[in-house]
C-alpha cells in the first residue's frame, strides 16, 4: 500500500501529517518513508533519520563530437526542449534545458553525440529510531529538474514485501507532484480553511481526479478561517478524514522537531482510525 501526502498550497502541514502517519504505522508494521519534496526535504528533522547511503541523481545529456558532426540540424529539430542549437559554426548544447530523453543521440546519423551524466541532486537512504526505512531526494540549488530526482528516488528505493509506503510529496500541482503521486494507492490532501487553502485544494483535487487516484482531505489549523473547505469537500464528495485545530503548542513543537504524534499522543488513535478508513489498512 502506497499512501501519498500532498497539498496544493505549500506550508499546510504535509510533512507533519506524513511523519505522524509513518510513526503511527511503524509501531506495528514495516514502513518505508519517501521524502519526495526534493526542493526542500525536511521530514528527517521530525523522523530523526540517519542516512547511511548516498548516491547521485543524474541525467544523461548530449556532448557533441565536432569532428564527426555533419551540421545537419537533426538533433536540434528532434529536441522537444530546445536544448540544442545548430549554427553555422557549431552545435551549441544547453544542458540545463535537456530532459535526458536521448532523441538527439538516437537520431544522429553521424554518431557524433555521446551522452554523459549530469548531476541533478543526491539520493540518501537510511533508517529512523522508530525503525522506519527512509529515503530522501535533494535537488541541487538552482536546478530546475525535480522530476528525474523524484523518479530515481522512487526507483532506487522500492518497497519491500509487506512494507507500507508513505510519500511526502512536493507542494503544488505541477510535474514533480505528478511524479511523486504516480503509483500511489491513496492521496491525502492536506489543506487549511483559508481562501488560499481552498483555491489550491481545488487544483490538487482536480489533479487526483486526472490521475484516477482516490483522495481524502485533512483540514489543518482548523478554526483560522471559515467553513468553505468543508463545504467544498461535501459538495464534490471528497471525504474529510480529520480536522486538526489551530493549536500554538503544535506549531511550537513542530518547530522544535517534535512530531505531532509525540507532542500530542491523543492523535495516534485518530491516525489509526484514518488509516483504517482509507484503505482497510490495519495498523
Amino acid at each position: 500500500m502506497i499512501i501519498a501526502v500532498a497539498s496544493g498550497k505549500g506550508g499546510t502541514g504535509k510533512t507533519t501529517i506524513a511523519t505522524s502517519l509513518a510513526l503511527t504505522l511503524a509501531s506495528d508494521r514495516p514502513v518505508l518513508f519517501l521524502d519526495c519534496d526534493v526542493e526542500a526535504p525536511n521530514a528527517h528533522l521530525l523522523l530523526k533519520s540517519s542516512f547511511n547511503q548516498r548516491k547521485d541523481a543524474t541525467l544523461l545529456v548530449p556532448v557533441i563530437d565536432e569532428s564527426r558532426c555533419g551540421q545537419c540540424g537533426t538533433c536540434a529539430e528532434v529536441c522537444q526542449y530546445n536544448a540544442l542549437a545548430v549554427t553555422e559554426q557549431r552545435v551549441l548544447v544547453f544542458p540545463e534545458m535537456c530532459h535526458g530523453c536521448g532523441s538527439c543521440a538516437l537520431n544522429c546519423a553521424w554518431g557524433a553525440i555521446r551522452e554523459v551524466p549530469r548531476g541533478l541532486g543526491i539520493l540518501e537512504s537510511g533508517n529512523t529510531p522508530a525503525g522506519i526505512r527512509v529515503a530522501c531526494g535533494l535537488l541541487n540549488i538552482g536546478e530546475a529538474l525535480a522530476v528525474p530526482v523524484i523518479r530515481q528516488l522512487k526507483a532506487s528505493t522500492p518497497a519491500r514485501p509487506g512494507e507500507t509506503t508513505i510519500i511526502d510529496a512536493p507542494p503544488g500541482t505541477s510535474c514533480p507532484v505528478v511524479e511523486a503521486l504516480r503509483g500511489a494507492d491513496y492521496v491525502i490532501l492536506v489543506t487549511e480553511p483559508t481562501p488560499f487553502g481552498l483555491h489550491d485544494l481545488k487544483l490538487a483535487y482536480e489533479l487526483t481526479r486526472e490521475l484516477g487516484l482516490p483522495a481524502g482531505v485533512i483540514i489543518n489549523r482548523n478554526g483560522i478561517g471559515d467553513q468553505r473547505v468543508d463545504d467544498f469537500c461535501q459538495h464534490v464528495g471528497l471525504p474529510v478524514l480529520l480536522h486538526i485545530p489551530m493549536d500554538r503548542a503544535i506549531a511550537v513543537g513542530i518547530a522544535q522537531g517534535i512530531p505531532l504524534t509525540t507532542l500530542k499522543p491523543d492523535y495516534r488513535p485518530l491516525f489509526r482510525q484514518l488509516l483504517l478508513t482509507i484503505a482497510g489498512v490495519r495498523p
Partner: protein, 112 residues
C-alpha cells in the same frame, strides 16, 4: 544587410514586440533591396528554450542584425557567436527602427 525586428503578429504593419524569444513574429528586411517579409516565430509558444530556437531560426534566415526589446542570455549565446549584432529598442514602428539603426541611433548590446 538583413535585419530582423521582433513584432507582435505575423502580418504586415504589426507593432514592435519587446521580447525576443517569444515574439509572435519577425519582420526580415533586406536594407539593400528594401525587400521585407513577415515570418511567424516558430518558437513563440515553445514550452522552454524559446530564445534558443528563435535565434537558430533567424541564423538560418541569414539575418545579420536583430532589433528587439530584450534578449535573454541563451538567445545571446546562440546569436552572438554566429556574428549577429543585437540592438535594443524600447518602441517604434518597423520603418522608424530601421531608420534609427542605419543612422546609428540604436543601442548595440555590448559584450557581457
Amino acid at each position: 544587410m538583413k535585419i530582423a525586428i521582433s513584432v507582435t503578429a505575423p502580418k504586415p504593419g504589426a507593432a514592435f514586440a519587446t521580447r525576443f524569444g517569444r515574439a509572435p513574429a519577425f519582420v526580415i528586411i533586406d536594407t539593400n533591396t528594401d525587400d521585407r517579409q513577415t515570418v511567424a516565430n516558430p518558437a513563440a509558444r515553445a514550452g522552454g528554450g524559446a530564445g534558443i530556437r528563435a535565434a537558430e531560426f533567424l541564423i538560418r534566415q541569414g539575418v545579420e542584425a536583430v532589433i528587439s526589446g530584450a534578449f535573454g542570455p541563451k538567445a545571446s549565446d546562440v546569436l552572438r557567436p554566429s556574428g549577429l549584432r543585437l540592438y535594443r529598442a524600447a518602441s517604434g514602428t518597423v520603418d522608424d527602427l530601421v531608420a534609427r539603426l542605419l543612422k546609428g541611433d540604436l543601442d548595440a548590446v555590448e559584450d557581457a
